[in-house]
Amino acid sequence: MSLNIAHLAVALAILSAFAPLLFARKTALLKFFSFMFLGLSGCAAVVAGAMALLADQVVTMVVPIGLPWLHCYQKLDPLAGLFLLIVGLVTAVVGCYGPAYVREYENGAQPLPVLTVFTGLFVAGMFLVMLAADAFSFMLAWELMSVASYFLVAYQHQNSENRNAAFIYLLMAQVGGLFILLGYGVLAAFGGAFSFDAMAAAPLSSGWASIAFILAFIGFGMKAGVVPLHVWLPQAHPVAPSHISALMSGVMLKVAVYGFIRFSYDLLGDIHWQWGVLVLFIGSVSAILGVLYALMQHDLKRLLAYHSVENIGIIYMGIGLSMIFSSFDLPLLAALGLVAALYHSLNHALFKSLLFLGAGAVLQNSHEHDLEKMGGLIRGMPITALCFLIGCISISALPPFNGFVSEWLTFQAALQGPAIDSGVISSLIPVAAAVLALTGALAAACFVKVFGVAFLGLPRSEAVSKARESSFGMVFAQGVLALCCLLFGVFPTWTVGAINVIPQHLLGVGLPAATEKGWVWLTPMAAETASYGAPMVLLGICLAWLIVWLWLHPRRRKTPVRVGDTWDCGFGPLNSRMQYTSSSFTQPIRRVFRPVWPIDEQIIAKDEKHPGGHYHLRVGDWAWNKIYLPIGRILLASAKRAAMIQGGNIRVYLAYSFFTLIFLLWVIV
């Protein structure tokens, strides 16, 4: 049943891609049908996912397509269900958001049907990845997802940065896909077949298992965007249409996480501690570098993209912890780490989509994506601002919103480090916890900057000052996500209770104690070890607020608030250029962590072009400068070397033939 609904979701997504083409000329109908089907498909996926997750059932099916001896295996289990739910939720929301948002593209340079077709295919690809239960259909769905999203990134291809970003994206997607394929190849070679069941049963030696793991780690990491495989992410996400960025950043990265979990827990099974250490290390590095790079960005969507790197890092930290515990035969703790990672996947999908949708709303209404030119948007777009604020609080991992819960769970897992029977590892794990703490604090700093610079203060450009609230659909979509952020933050026990079946499937145990104290108290290990009463926190804040308000309210009548000018030190009226900008806000952090970024910073004194002087700042990416550019250079140099073979002289060509012959004759004799 759940699988049928999931297939319905896929069908609806494909329908949303192609059915509206019947109305290719009538934009209104095109938009309506496309996004309606998309939304319905999302809803169907949510239903299917929830059924699989809550009913704790595994449904399988064989579809007779694909290769003759390798039919397409489909399976929906709780793990797939959770991620199906995540994808479906965001897709459904995007279905509400889309029609109003794509208004911008109606009369643009590119035809709208291109956008809707590939959006549908993209979503269908993501659904199919979750459902695939053999390597072939997995790769098929996976690459469908990659290619479709490539076209979406390249949608506004009249801009060169779109083209470049799309190229880098597709290139890395291709490489990643190949790595994954190889990973499956190892398993299939030992398991004798491509179905997941056969692979899971493959008798792997420890060395081959590690090779398969590394391949999968790189492959999925490429898509998930862990450092240093993240470089496509900050390029591709900003240039895609915002609802696509929301899907890509919020959901597609989760699909990679899903694949990684599926591969390492389900297919490989016997986990080595070295893998866990690797995942934890890369996760920590991604988290900290992601947030540090995010801090330095002033393009709103690029900043959010770097935050995706950070959050994926946090998810990987959870997974890494889980792997380490699992390898030391501590399944309960392993379950805790896994639950934390899964929960964070859900949360990140929610708040990152919310933030991207907010950024889209800002972009649509002010045509501005540069933080340096924003400001004061809260006055024109109050509801968007409120939703965005909720997103900011959530992603900064502040109670009582959802981001906090999953980070808290990750902390709890990290603090159980000493349970491990190895001194070095158990002392390293708390360090990871410290990194997580630093990440969280820096993320908060970053979102103070984002919200403060974009929505508060004075508008820094004309267009921004005229921005008005978006239409109902867009606001509604953001509202839904904001509400989800709150609900998943305030009622974590229910969520953890539902997610619990996944570690039961993968590791054999769940977290029996997590919800034993009732729905108010989240006690992952035991009540005395740690507890978090999220509803009580919300209640407490409200209560405290109420008391203060009741106490102060009478005074308000006595001495009403007087509105006056801002204090300007007596120098005359303030203007928007006196405010701290995005760059200046992060200047202290830039000083503190100076070596982290390749910085090109110049202060140009007054000259003709810049009568007021000029400050120039460019923050690059070391991964790009030190890894990718050299690879590119090596590639081009070797291509140049290889080109010598095609020198143009026919006598040389014939000499090749001659010497090849001689060589071969010499070899065989």
Binding site: R163, F167, Q174, A188, I645, L654, Y656
Partner: protein, 488 residues
């Protein structure tokens, strides 16, 4: 067998007809009809083979089995769709005055002549005749390569002629050696060079002669396949000839040459008892694959670029047949089909693109999608397909190939992987700016017949999502024939 004779006679008739009447305006249409008829008869032939199994002609000169029949069908099909494209394309060339009547006669006549030689090469049972037909194919196309009479096209033609001539001469020596070996087993027989006979007596042949023969055959036919470092003629010939020519060269000729190598390998392998030929082929395949991938980065001419892509894929197929084993062979055979279909579709689109932009230079082709969306998307999707992205069929065959490599030569997979990534980057960095972006001022859409492209892309899409049972059984038969065991 009648189906076969018809299949062979139709193009032969076409060759003669066009030698006289190729310059007429209706020639393009007639050409198309002949090709359609050829395809129909080849389909008939295929159904015959499918129903009755292997066929052999009375004089044992022709022999149709599961291996070659699907290549015959493929040849006829690609020949047909390309002829659909070729008519309007050449009419446009006449219009802009690049070719005159005489050359049009030559063109159509040789188009059919080329198809004829290809079909003969595929269907013959006599290995000597195989050589004659492949050499004939070179001779038929060499003037087409230099059809435009520009210095570059003359140069390309000369290189094509001489390099292939020298190469193919070596193949003849290989054939002579095979004959020499067989002569000892079956002295004085007229049937000594028949593949069926050789295959039956493969175990009795002298291994030391055979390995020597194999080297010559590999270098000889390998020159036609485009194996590095014997490939140098290929990009030149593809880029300078008329585009329909490039489409069938890439789609057919290379396959046929590879087919020849595989046929010989089928005889040589059992006699030899070692996998030395396989290893040599793998080595060639890898070197070819890697070099072509790198050279993709240095292209300035769009047809030249796609010809390097053909070299790359031929390398991959050679590698697959070199590995041997049912999985790799199945993948290699499937790859032959999907590569032919995709590459000819790409060349068709490239032809239109070159007409739109009035140049073949990559730097000057810009914004195809905004000028003519069908051409732009066709080129982009074709490139996506050839780069091995699902849901297109190239992915399926590469998937099989990778799995096979993983099974027997796991470490080589890394080379393949790097090669694929490099090749992909090389293709896309050039194709992207051509299709995307804003069109240069004054660029106008041209009359384009995109049906061949659409049909090909739909077919490879179909093959990517689901390989039909019939085709799979067919390929499996061929696999059984080549390596002795099937997959199904």
């Amino acid at each position: 067998m009648n189906a076969l004779y018809l299949t062979l006679l139709l193009p032969l008739f076409g060759t003669m007809l066009f030698a006289v009447a190729g310059h007429r305006r209706s020639a393009g249409t007639i050409n198309m009809f002949i090709c359609v008829a050829t395809f129909a008869t080849s389909l008939w032939l295929a159904i015959n083979v499918f129903n009755q199994g292997t066929l052999i002609s009375d004089g044992k000169l022709f022999y149709i089995d599961g291996f070659n029949v699907y290549l015959i069908l493929l040849n006829a099909f690609v020949g047909m769709t390309t002829s659909v494209f070729s008519g309007p394309y050449m009419a446009h060339e006449v219009e802009i005055g690049r070719v005159d009547d005489g050359r049009m006669r030559l063109y159509y006549s040789m188009y059919q002549g080329f198809l004829f030689t290809m079909l003969v090469a595929l269907s013959t049972n006599n290995l000597g005749l195989l050589w004659v037909a492949v050499e004939g194919a070179t001779l038929a196309t060499v003037l087409l390569v230099s059809l435009y009479r520009t210095p570059e096209s003359i140069e390309a033609g000369w290189k094509y002629f001489l390099i292939c001539g020298v190469g193919i001469a070596q193949a003849l020596f290989g054939t002579v050696l095979i004959y020499f070996a067989a002569d000892k087993v079956l002295p004085g027989s007229d049937e000594t060079l028949l593949w069926t006979v050789l295959n039956a007596h493969a175990m009795e042949l002298e291994p030391t002669v055979l390995i020597l023969a194999f080297v010559f055959l590999l270098v000889g036919y390998g020159t036609k396949v485009g194996l590095v470092p014997l490939h140098n003629w290929l990009p030149d010939a593809h880029s300078e000839g008329p585009t329909p020519m490039s489409a069938i060269l890439s789609g057919l000729l290379l396959n046929v040459a590879l087919y020849a190598i595989v046929r010989f390998k089928m005889i040589i392998d059992p006699a030899l008892g070692t996998d030395l030929p396989g290893k040599i082929m793998m080595g060639f395949g890898l070197v070819t694959f890697a070099t072509a991938g790198l050279l993709l980065h240095r292209q300035k001419d769009v047809k030249r670029m796609f010809s390097y892509s053909s070299i790359e894929h031929m390398g991959l197929m050679t590698f697959a047949f070199g590995i041997g084993g049912s999985l790799a062979t199945f993948g290699g055979l499937l790859h032959m089909i999907v590569h032919s279909l995709t590459k000819s579709a790409i060349f068709v689109t490239v032809g239109h693109a070159a007409h739109v932009a009035k140049t073949q230079s990559i730097d000057k082709i810009r914004g195809l999608i905004s000028t003519q969306p069908t051409v732009g998307w066709g080129l982009l999707l074709g490139t996506v397909a050839i780069a091995g992205f699902p849901p297109f069929g190239v992915f399926t065959s590469e998937f099989l190939l990778f799995s096979a490599t993983m099974k027997s030569w796991p470490w080589l997979v890394i080379t393949l992987l790097i090669g694929l990534a490099v090749a992909f980057a090389g293709l896309f960095r050039h194709v992207q700016p051509m299709v995307f972006g804003e069109a240069p001022p004054g660029q106008q859409p041209v009359e384009a017949n995109m049906w061949p492209v659409i049909i090909h892309l739909v077919l490879i899409l179909w093959l990517g999502i689901s390989v039909p049972e019939v085709l799979a059984r067919w390929i499996d038969q061929a696999t059984i024939m080549i390596v002795g065991e099937g997959l199904l």
